[in-house]
């Protein structure tokens, strides 16, 4: 053990505590699960972003990552399976001063919620989507999902997955996302920086985070424990900022291309709406005052 760790005073609070609902700890995630690591990175991104946290809202769907909203010390919404993005769309449009973050898993965002993802990206809705991709449906016991690579054994593919998986970053780019990046839970500094970056970027932003599920995915596929996952990420990840997303598909044991792939400026939904209405209606256009729902 290094001296640095021993130097931490026993009464020191964890610097991410103010960003978490400590009255809800301990969390439900398994030992060595990567979701907590991403939440730590998110907390640090919130801190360094200097945003007013009363104006940041977090929306999750269902699943292991779906529980993130409940642990974040923000206005938080744990919605229905796959529907975090359309909920976030309504929240953002009704209250545009909010920075709305969608934090959910690969199954939630890309199977049951896949349609909402591509449409929100197409509209360039000003929301930030963080997808913790553990390559499986973990909450329900490790079934095959749309991001599960072929040849993997899962609870519903006992003889191996044979259907092709989505390349999430390519889909995000093709659908119109303003920002697309991929990191793993090994790349905590880069991930925190990417999260901070999207908190200051307009438009639909997408970060995919490869994250280990030792309990289900790795155990079933004889891929070792949490530490082995870190070694694997370290060994096979290759930073290629600006890489064509078409070259970033994931396989069971092959290279993981990480980095920032897309960072472009497109007018977002509200800008387009305002522009169109002003063009056609002129002075008759009334700025949306959606939250006029007054008090009693």
């Amino acid at each position: 053990m290094s001296d640095a760790i021993l130097d931490i005073p026993l009464d020191m609070t964890n610097p991410v505590e103010p960003f978490l609902r400590m009255d809800r700890m301990p969390h439900i995630w398994c030992p060595a699960c990567g979701i907590g690591t991403t939440v730590n990175c998110f907390a640090r991104a919130l801190e360094s972003s200097k945003l007013d946290l009363n104006k940041v809202a977090i929306v999750s769907g269902i699943g292991c990552t779906g529980r993130v909203a409940g642990y974040a010390n923000l206005d938080s919404f744990h919605t229905t399976h796959g529907r975090a993005i359309p909920f976030a769309t309504g929240l953002k449009l009704s209250n545009p001063e909010l920075q709305v973050v969608v934090y959910s898993g690969d199954g939630d965002l890309f199977a049951i919620g896949g349609n909402h993802f591509i449409h929100a990206a197409r509209r360039n809705m000003d929301i930030k989507v963080i997808c913790v991709n553990n390559l499986t449906y973990a909450m329900t016991g490790g079934q095959t999902g749309p991001a599960t690579p072929t040849e993997v054994i899962s609870a519903t593919s006992p003889y191996g997955v044979f259907e092709p998986s989505f390349n999430l970053v390519q889909m995000a780019e093709a659908a119109g996302a303003s920002y697309v990046a991929r990191w793993t839970t090994y790349h905590v500094k880069q991930l925190s920086r990417a999260m901070e970056e999207v908190l200051h970027k307009k438009g639909f932003c997408f970060i995919e985070v490869l994250s280990p599920c030792p309990t289900l995915y790795q155990r079933r596929n004889k891929m070792g424990d949490g530490l082995d996952a870190m070694k694997f990420y370290k060994q096979v990840s290759k930073v290629r900022n600006g890489a064509p997303t078409s070259e970033c598909a994931l396989t069971r044991a092959g290279e993981i291309v990480v980095g920032k792939f897309v960072d472009r400026d497109r007018p977002d939904y509200l800008e387009l709406l305002t522009h169109q209405m002003k063009e056609t209606l002129g002075d008759r256009y009334a700025d949306p005052e959606v939250t006029t729902c007054s008090e009693g």
Binding site: G70, H78, G90
Partner: protein, 385 residues
């Protein structure tokens, strides 16, 4: 409090039910709508899309009804009054989020302009066959309010009422139009904004430190907050305690689910909305709602002309069902006749509360058009025998 004049199109108009419903949403203060096109309901949001940019608000056409029915709830928690509009197949897709609105106590309005079903059914023709779905369609135990206008004027008036009830009780409210009411054009009088009463959102006056998101007030309904005001609250579709935190145990489940049921109890008694016509001396009461009530009116007039004392009990709040009114009537009338554009849905409620003390005669219709008055008349005459 009164309606914001910006949304109120005061005057005498010639509108169809769908358009009148849209004006009702605007008068009620709705400034956000999400929709997905479906016949025969789309005119409601088409008009909203046309009107809202000059009133100040947002319409977004979503990718499907699942998205529309949850986008409105995001908007509500952002501080807006919001609604969506659909018909049969879309209503089926929205069931998941009616349950979400129920458990998260999100005040919002679902307009369902009913068409023939099941499945794609009769897209352009009327039915009233979603009445049980409106009450029970999402899984689990919960309560909702459903209103049944029978004219374009009521499409306006009751839509305002629907928004007000949603805010008061914090439940999803279903506007159960049918294709006939939605597409019939009649005179609609929209009053001055100061003549339209609006129920404001129950925003809390407590500080973030004191406030508990799901702690009920005396009427069993909790006060509300919106995102961005520093309350740092949590909303979940999981069973939750008064703080809004998930709590997977029998006690929390029992307390929450019973409260969601009980908070509408005053409604079943004093608050039911209905129209009573010629009930004082009635021997036969036609229980009807929506477009069918207008055919029933003709049938009861014909019955009276033949010397049969027939009256009408028109359901305006179909849900919660006005049980005590049916119970009272059952003690003094000979029979209920229940015509519906379905094969018998609300008639079961009438039977249940009549409890054998009066005859109950169903007059079913599979939908596609309305009953002939003679068919209802025949049932009235048989009932009077």
């Amino acid at each position: 409090m009164h309606a914001d004049p910006k949304g109120v199109l005061t005057g005498v108009h010639f509108l169809d039910g769908d358009h009148a419903c849209c004006e009702g949403t605007l008068a009620a203060g709705a400034r956000f709508a999400a929709g997905y096109p479906i016949t025969p309901s789309t005119e409601v949001v088409e008009r909203f899309a046309w009107r809202i940019p000059t009133v100040g608000g947002i319409f977004i056409q979503m990718e499907d009804e699942l998205a529309a029915s949850i986008a409105i709830q995001g908007a509500v928690w952002g501080g807006a009054k919001a609604f969506t509009v659909t018909s049969g197949p879309g209503f089926s897709l929205m069931m998941e989020h009616i349950g979400y609105a129920a458990i998260t106590e999100t005040p919002c309005v679902f307009v369902n302009v009913q068409r023939g079903g099941p499945s794609t059914g009769l897209p352009t023709l009327p039915a009233q066959a979603d009445m049980m779905q409106a009450r029970w369609g999402s899984h689990g135990d919960y309560s909702i309010i459903a209103l049944c206008p029978n004219s374009p004027q009521e499409c306006f008036d009751l839509t305002v009422t629907g928004f007000n009830l949603a805010e008061e009780f914090r439940v999803p409210v279903m506007m159960m139009l049918d294709e006939c009411v939605g597409h019939m054009t009649e005179k609609v009088v929209i009053p001055e904004s100061d003549q339209i009463a609006i129920t404001p959102r129950r925003f809390t006056h407590q500080s973030p430190e004191e406030f508990r998101l799901f702690k009920p007030k005396e009427d069993l309904v909790p006060d509300m907050v919106k995102a961005g005001d520093g309350y740092r609250f949590h909303v979940t579709g999981l069973t939750h305690d008064e703080r809004g935190y998930p709590s997977m145990n029998v006690e929390t489940q029992d307390k929450l689910v019973r409260r969601m049921q009980d908070k509408l109890k005053p409604f079943t008694n004093g608050r039911a909305l209905f129209e009573a016509v010629n009930l004082d001396d009635a021997e036969v009461v036609v229980v009807s709602y929506g477009i069918t009530s207008r055919v029933a009116q003709r049938a009861t007039q014909m019955a009276r002309a033949q010397g049969v004392k027939a009256g009408i009990f028109r359901l305006i709040t179909a849900w919660p069902f006005p049980e005590q009114h049916i119970r009272e009537l059952a003690g003094r009338v000979k029979a209920f006749v229940v015509p519906e554009l379905n094969l018998g849905q609300m008639v079961h409620e009438v039977e249940r509360h009549a409890a054998g003390r009066a005859k109950v005669i169903s007059v079913p219709h599979a939908g596609g058009t309305v009953h002939k008055p003679e068919v209802i008349l025949k049932a009235i005459l048989e009932a009077a025998r």
